[in-house]
């Protein structure tokens, strides 16, 4: 394992001193200002000089220090994304939108997963603020807790005071007096449409499964569901509402229990596709046919919806687009002058039902 520092750049392993502008300047026989100018191409430099500087940089293996650069004034070209779980397609697609939009704007993304813990979420916002991210995108529903919201508002103000923006992506605003921007989609309306679709097919007893109580997304969907019931004059039976995690596992387990000793129903509304997928598995294992015996719907239209057999009827959300808009709405109106960028603007994206094969007319009542 012998090693002999032959190459410029050092012999590896330790933290040798990296080349700096000063080194480059010296080697090229110019001033540091000139080096800076050739890097940033924002000022005329003689071709010959540029040539020498660039070759010096190459020879030294020079790589500019982004921290020094950020400190000296330039934006650090970073946007932060905070999600609860990276492997969940719902978040993954939004994150992809954020990443692509950021990347196209020459920015890099800081990402982190709080795994459903509001405290971690808050801590991550702080970390990204320390890094002076141009924007911090908070993805997904938020918990309904007074102290938490107050803390969030405080962070939003701090961020704003420094010229950054807190972006609420898929969650309600914190109030007009809190400087945030947002990108939303319609949870209430989508759920309403879905339940209405079910009712139209003759379903009157619809099992509602999943959605953490206290999470904004879950709350809105449930409200939409109830509104549809009400509008059609159907009773709301608490026995049919089963809040819980947005997870496949929950959908599966609860469905198994309910199949064993639950109330009667002809359709199942999974609060998201994951829950519906879990329910589908339980139904399958119990020998219940979808949609002949029981109809099933989900929400989000993530890939699993098309993977399921029968394919799942669900609500499509423009996930990736939301991610893109999140950074656009935060960055777009921020460096362009102070062009009256709405400090508290909220963009609302549309959703729509995707009818596939998991819903049929309700069986004749016994």
């Amino acid at each position: 394992m012998s090693r002999q520092g032959t190459t410029a750049g050092g012999a590896g392993g330790g933290a040798q001193r990296r080349a700096t502008v000063v080194d480059v300047a010296r080697l090229a026989g110019v001033s540091t200002a000139t080096v800076s100018r050739v890097m940033n191409r924002n000022y005329p430099v003689a071709a010959a000089t540029r040539e020498r500087v660039e070759s010096a940089m190459r020879e030294l293996g020079y790589v500019v220090n982004a921290h020094a650069r950020a400190l000296a004034g330039a934006s650090n070209r970073t946007v932060g994304i905070i999600v609860s779980e990276l492997v969940d397609p719902f978040y993954a697609y939004i994150a992809r939108g954020v990443e692509r939009e950021a990347s196209e704007g020459g920015r890099l993304c800081l990402i982190c997963c709080h795994q459903g813990d509001p405290q971690r979420e808050l801590a991550f916002i702080e970390l990204m603020h320390e890094r002076r991210a141009d924007a911090v995108v908070l993805v997904g529903g938020s918990v309904d807790d007074r102290a938490y919201k107050a803390e969030l508002a405080r962070r939003a103000r701090e961020l704003d005071a420094g010229g950054s923006k807190l972006v609420l992506c898929g969650r309600p605003s914190l109030g007009d007096d809190v400087p945030t921007v947002g990108v939303e989609y319609d949870n209430e309306g989508g759920a309403f449409a879905l339940t209405d679709h079910l009712i139209t097919q003759g379903h009157e007893r619809i099992l509602y499964l999943g959605g953490p109580p206290g999470l904004s997304t879950a709350h809105d969907r449930l409200v939409g569901h109830r509104r549809a019931l009400e509008l059609r004059g159907l009773p709301r039976d608490p026995q049919l509402e089963h809040p819980g995690p947005f997870s496949r596992t929950f959908g599966y387990r609860r469905m198994v229990e309910l199949l064993r000793d639950g109330p009667a129903f002809t359709a199942v509304f999974g609060a998201n596709d994951n829950v519906a997928a879990g329910a589908a598995q339980a139904l399958e294992e119990a020998g219940v046919r979808v949609p002949q015996d029981i109809s099933l719907v989900g929400y989000d239209d993530v890939p699993v919806a098309q993977e399921l057999r029968p394919r799942l009827t669900t609500v499509r959300i423009p996930l990736e687009e939301m991610g893109r808009q999140a950074v656009r709405v935060a960055i777009g109106g921020d460096d362009e002058d102070d062009w009256r960028a709405p400090t508290t603007g909220t963009l609302r994206l549309g959703t729509h039902i995707v009818v596939r094969d998991s819903v049929a007319r309700a069986p004749r009542r016994g």
Copy 2:
């Protein structure tokens, strides 16, 4: 839109001057050194003083500037992840491992997707180097191109010279003289085992579908497949090998074509689960039963493998664990002294077949 610095921190919208250590120090009536000490808790400070400083920080809405901190010496506590696609579960699970391990070590992750473009990948490595990431994790197979590899080696050396590490996660080493660390799993062996499993079940004509030619992962899997064939004395029919993207779409389309006018076969080996999922759909639509008529296997054991009906027999890779090890192997032996951390160590993780329901004995030959 008048603004009147009423609140500490300003009234929002623009880039007000943020509070700095100097401001805090002044307000608390101490020196900046003391402020630094209370923040870092790395040096004794009188309780009363600390109290005053902390309250000053609160009052000013002070948030430390990570760039200044990084510049002044401390590590910036960042690890970079470079994947080709965030929403692909293969990458998502590895990324999750990286993120969790990093997060547990108090680090934040920079992430980016090159979408299969080696040039973008290289560019991102540079960007992360500029940010002085402690480690840059390159995830997934690499293209077999001389110039590309040389460039990668150069970047690895630069990174190493600065005390960072390039981590090769799921791709071959660049050679003993290139300072990288790596975490691998066995592509060749897993494919060998899978094909052998198929042969044991009486299959002699196995269609091999997908895997971009020139991508290391794809190459190794194909080699394993061929070796199993050879070892059992089965002929290798070029007609049965159909390289292509690692995508569901490719699996579907090519399967459709092959079903129409391809050679005879009794089993399909999808180079990964995505391809297998696509093939499964084509098979289903063509009325071909799996596994009675045709057996099907995949690789990776991502969630879709369990979603498919019948459930897919595949090879399990410890995806998340690979991600965790990637940062461990890069960070672990780096700040602990210069404890002869192997500069070019490669960790190899095990894989194993997961037998589910998509393989049956080959139908009697007609």
